[in-house]
Point group: none
Chain length 186, copies 4
DNA sequence: TATGAATGAGCGTTCATTCAT
DNA sequence: GATGAATGAACGCTCATTCAT
């Protein structure tokens, strides 16, 4: 009887890590298969192509964010500051990683011109993130300003993770966090 | 003298464009050669490897910036605002491109963990940029703050170019410009 | 089980033949693959480089000699003359071939300065051969002389195979056999 | 006015050295050109192909041997022993080299099956050598035996140079010299 | 004569993918 | 479900050779 060595979820989780570290084009199906303890051929029982796999990786990230991270911003039981803080921490844990950077940013820069299916998901992620931040900033700022502040925070975060990767330092990222919190104050 | 179809400079310029659009790993030597009107093999008269070529592309960008762009910030004949404005425009023209994004940011995210030689040059570029901005902000802010503002501007710019690439819109980038100018005021 | 067109052993055997005929550098992976009925790329399931393949070819020859040919010299159930005769014939069948010459000699001359891993195996082969001959000559000669006679026989054999290749004649080789046998007599 | 940087002779001498060290197929036209201080393209003013060049290298060796080395064997002004001794030394200086081995032996094993033009010259060389040795041995042995002894000496020499190359030792070669001299005695 | 840019075929190797078992 | 052998195209790179200057 066929034994199942891994679940689709495990593959997605491990693949996310490998893609984040090595980038899309520089990661081979072999790399991914080995990372999850399968042989190359077995991979194709779960995903019919490298593109499909990457798309599903991105989608699983999106689902996690939309279901468990962004909703925090709309949880009216918590104070605004706490919502922001918690959300940022959960967000970071999901998409950032000091060594490999941000799977979202990495994938945008590397693939967005080449793979429209990736673009869709990536846009959903960033739109969800923007909306969540906009919502929080709306408590203390005019709607138009709130949106701009949200975008500004996101851009800074992505820039910060880039600097962190380049210099091997994390303070860019911390400064960014502080400014994002500061902006919550009227 | 043998017939010369291209100059090394042309190769660097065209290669920059191809790398920016397609990324490092997804660009083949064939792509590059065709872009300059040569055959793959002929390329190796100018560069002895893809890595060397990319490094020289990055170095040529660095030299241009260090010699012609960053010095603008230190030109005491011009008012500060004008220095900032001119420098930002020249900088953008050099490293940004709406379709392909920023060669610096793209290359950091895709290769910095893999190619230490690239990292060096990329660090020089970002350090030069940071210093130039810090210098300008120093006129109106305390030294420590000036540095933070410079870094913030850079991070925003890199984030903005990412958003521009993802959504095909350029207003992120314009907002970023406005904020960078605003920060010049005490 | 996937369809298997060849075994690793078959590859080694066929590759030995191709290397012997065409030499190491003049043999392409394509040549080798076609000789065993595979495509170039498929070869890399069995060997991860041309060097590795050649090394394994040489090692398989070494193992065959050490396990099945040289032991004949030490088989005290047989008369000395018969041991020598049988061993030489088995040896010839293993490493010589009128058209391509001697895989050992060919590879020494072509690669020994360039590939230390090959050198090791080739030395083991020649040392084994020298020892076996020395052992046989020891029955009728003083130890020091026995070693010299062994070396002399080996050198003659390698020279003979070279002459045979150059002139397309095999009598050099036969003379060599006769002299090697003659030397057994006190 | 065109300056001539090298003579054809120099090219042949330098190329001989490179071919001896690196073998025929593993030597590139670039290697050869650099060894003589020319650029690749300039080489083709002297030789219209790599094959032609190698053939001329071998021919120049042949001419040297036929004109200056083998005649020593027929010089009736000198005692036989001295003729042999002088000839062997001159021969060694011409075709052997401890590091690279024997250009004749190397080239036979690597190319004789592939390049008939090389074979011709190589046969001439070995025939000339055989004749010279046969002539000397004829003084003390019956004609038929003299020929066999000549061949035996040659084979040993080629085998000895192979062993020397494999083990990095030169005593094989010296033993060979001693035996070749010994055989001169009735 | 010497150059060096250009060619085009071929090299060793890697890859995403297929599929019989 | 998992294997691993096989494919065929593509990769980065090297090569012998050509030829305008």
């Amino acid at each position: 009887m066929p034994i199942q060595k891994v679940t689709k979820e495990e593959i997605l989780t491990k693949s996310l890590e490998v893609f984040r570290h090595r980038g899309y084009h520089n990661t081979s199906m072999n790399d991914l298969a080995h990372a999850v303890g399968l042989l190359k051929g077995s991979f194709y029982h779960y995903f019919d192509s490298k593109e499909t796999l990457m798309k599903e990786v991105l989608m699983s990230v999106n689902i996690l964010l939309q279901e468990e991270v962004f909703p925090i911003a709309y949880n009216s039981n918590l104070p605004i500051q706490e919502r922001m803080e918690t959300m940022l921490k959960r967000f970071s844990k999901t998409v950032f990683n000091k060594e490999g950077g941000c799977i979202v940013g990495n994938t945008i820069l590397e693939t967005v011109n080449l793979y429209p299916q990736f673009k869709e998901v990536l846009q959903e992620i960033l739109t969800g993130w923007t909306n969540a931040l906009t919502h929080l900033y709306s408590y203390t700022h005019a709607p138009e300003n709130a949106k701009k502040l949200a975008e500004q925070s996101i851009m800074e975060y992505e820039g910060a993770i880039m600097m962190a990767k380049l210099y091997g330092e994390s303070y860019y990222y911390k400064d960014c966090y502080i400014r994002t919190m500061e902006r919550l104050k009227a």
